[in-house]
């Protein structure tokens, strides 16, 4: 328990958690204000959650982390998966009130892929820049025209209906790849 508390504090998790809950509820309220379910807002909830949580993928001091006699890879993997669980379940939980914003299958797919993207960002650029990966892909896919081409389906994987093979594959590649990359390599300084 003591280890867990110290770890959470060093990664700024309480603040990130507050930001996730705040953004999830406020975007959900915004969607409720509009009435009709908007795919943009439901995906944006997941993007915001993973973006805020991504900042915690870098600790206070990477050199200090390294000298600790702790097996980091499984802990790092658990951290990434915990982000996905918290962000995804926050939306699924809120959806119990009012009209559901999106289908559970889409929430699962998008959360997993976005979390992997954030972990990839932390691996390549460090935690303070990791938010740019999920946010950037989301922003980019807003402009991607919706058609049946595989390029569009992969670039716009966040928006595809559940069960679209190209979108599921994109999510799995990003999710597994990002989690593995972060677990093995850790974050960049």
């Amino acid at each position: 328990m003591r280890w867990f508390v110290l770890y959470a504090r060093s990664r700024g998790i309480p603040l990130a958690l507050a930001a996730i809950l705040l953004s999830t509820t406020s975007f959900w309220a915004l969607a409720a204000l509009d009435g009709a379910p908007d795919p943009e807002l439901s995906v944006l909830i997941l993007v915001a959650g993973t973006a805020f949580a991504a900042a915690g993928l870098t600790g206070q001091d990477i050199a200090l982390d390294r000298i600790a006699a702790i097996r980091w890879p499984p802990r790092r993997a658990v951290h990434v998966l915990a982000i996905a669980v918290v962000v995804g379940s926050a939306l699924l939980f809120l959806q119990n009130w009012g009209d559901p914003l999106s289908l559970a299958g889409v929430v699962l797919r998008d959360t997993f892929g976005l979390t992997g993207l954030a972990a990839l960002g932390a691996t390549l650029c460090g935690g303070q820049y990791a938010w740019t990966f999920p946010t950037g892909w989301f922003a980019f896919s807003l402009g991607v025209p919706i058609d049946a081409s595989v390029l569009s389906q992969v670039a716009g994987w966040l928006w595809q209906p559940p069960g679209t093979p190209a979108a599921t594959a994109a999510s799995l590649v990003l999710g597994i790849g990002g989690t593995l990359a972060y677990a093995v390599c850790g974050n960049r300084r």
């Binding site: 993007v47 950037g136 922003a139």
Partner: protein, 464 residues
Amino acid sequence: MIRTELRRSAAPWAAVLIVGIAAVLLFAFSGPWWKGGGAWNREWTGLARWERNTLMLVWPFAIGVGALQGLRDHRSGMAELLTTTSRPRWRRAAQTAGAMAIAMTAGYLVIFAIGAVQVAGNATYFHWGWAPILLVGVLSLIGAAWLGMGIARLAPSVLTPPLLAVTALAVAVVTQVSPVGGSLLSGSVPDRIAWLSPVQDGPDDAFTSVAGRMNLGQGLWFLGMAVTGFVLLAATRAATKLLAVVPLLAGAAVALPLLPATVAQAQEVDQGAVALVCADGLPRVCVTNVHQEFLGALVQPAREALALLGKVPGAPTSVEEVTTGEPFYGRRPVVAGVVQIDFDDFDLASGLRSTTDPDRLRRYLVAGAGTPTCYGRVEMDENYERERAARAVSAAGLTGELRPLSGSGSAYFRNELETLARPAWESFRVLPAAEQIARLSAMRVAAETCRGGTLEILTNGVAR
């Protein structure tokens, strides 16, 4: 010093990324920015407006990058040390902010320049109406980046950049005003507030521009945002930091009454673009100023078509471009005596481009004895197909040969031509010349008023 800032800060990366993001979006995907007369590579206004559309991605990015830059002093832990120097804080702030502004401007202008090279090759109508649209785009990026820097200095947390970027993204998403349905929040929030976001939809055609009051209002709003951001970045006293919010609020207070209340008021017709340019001599063949590059290719087939139409009593005697878009249902208002053409019509565009079939354009213009179709762009039912067949037969009646009107020559159109138009044409072609003209004339009257039954008039002489 500013040269050092340009090299060492986040500014150069920001400029490169702005160009990269927008270029990938514009080039890698065949989105609506490639289609129609308002395409981003066709006309100057279209280019400036489609670049504003890319702000959906670039504007949240700008505020995020600004915030990352604003965290630098906090990260380096030398803020306290810098207060011991005699240089005023605002001068240091001005260098960082200046470098960021230069980067934002450069990135945005490079995208414009990439488009401008293409537009310069395509457009014959030059005007300066795109300049305010471009300037507001640049101002919005500087305002966002400086506000990001200022807020990050005020709240130096690692969460500040993602919070600002995601919030800006949410604002851009929910306020995007589409011409048909309004913004996502249209029901609860006036469009006027939605226009505080710099993101705009690209145009469908080359005839409209952004209203002047829209540009002015948005420009002042982003100017206020930039001043607030800079004051937050430069302020040393708590009172100044508090007062920094004043320019932002003042900008909003001035902008909101200026911003148009409805989607229609947000656009204005570009009078220079829609002015008609006519070919020398008679009969009249006119296109809009913005499409004058097509006039040379159009005038010869158009005059031949008008000569053919001269055989039908009451048929149009001139060819003119229309500037209203094709409606989803029904047709545009008809002008008597004029063959109305629309360069966004696929059949006309492919007819103009066709090198293998020079008669196609003439056939297109005499179809329906010069009357426009009665059906809008989403009406593709059986009535539309019968009308299309009647148009093909009437064109054949004047040119003497039944051939497809559509440029595509696809199996679908060939099939339609064979099953509906061919039998009608076989019965029509054996009639005496006077009877042919009488039926064409009757069909023209029916088509002009959209009474229907045009195919029956051509085959039987009566509507039913």
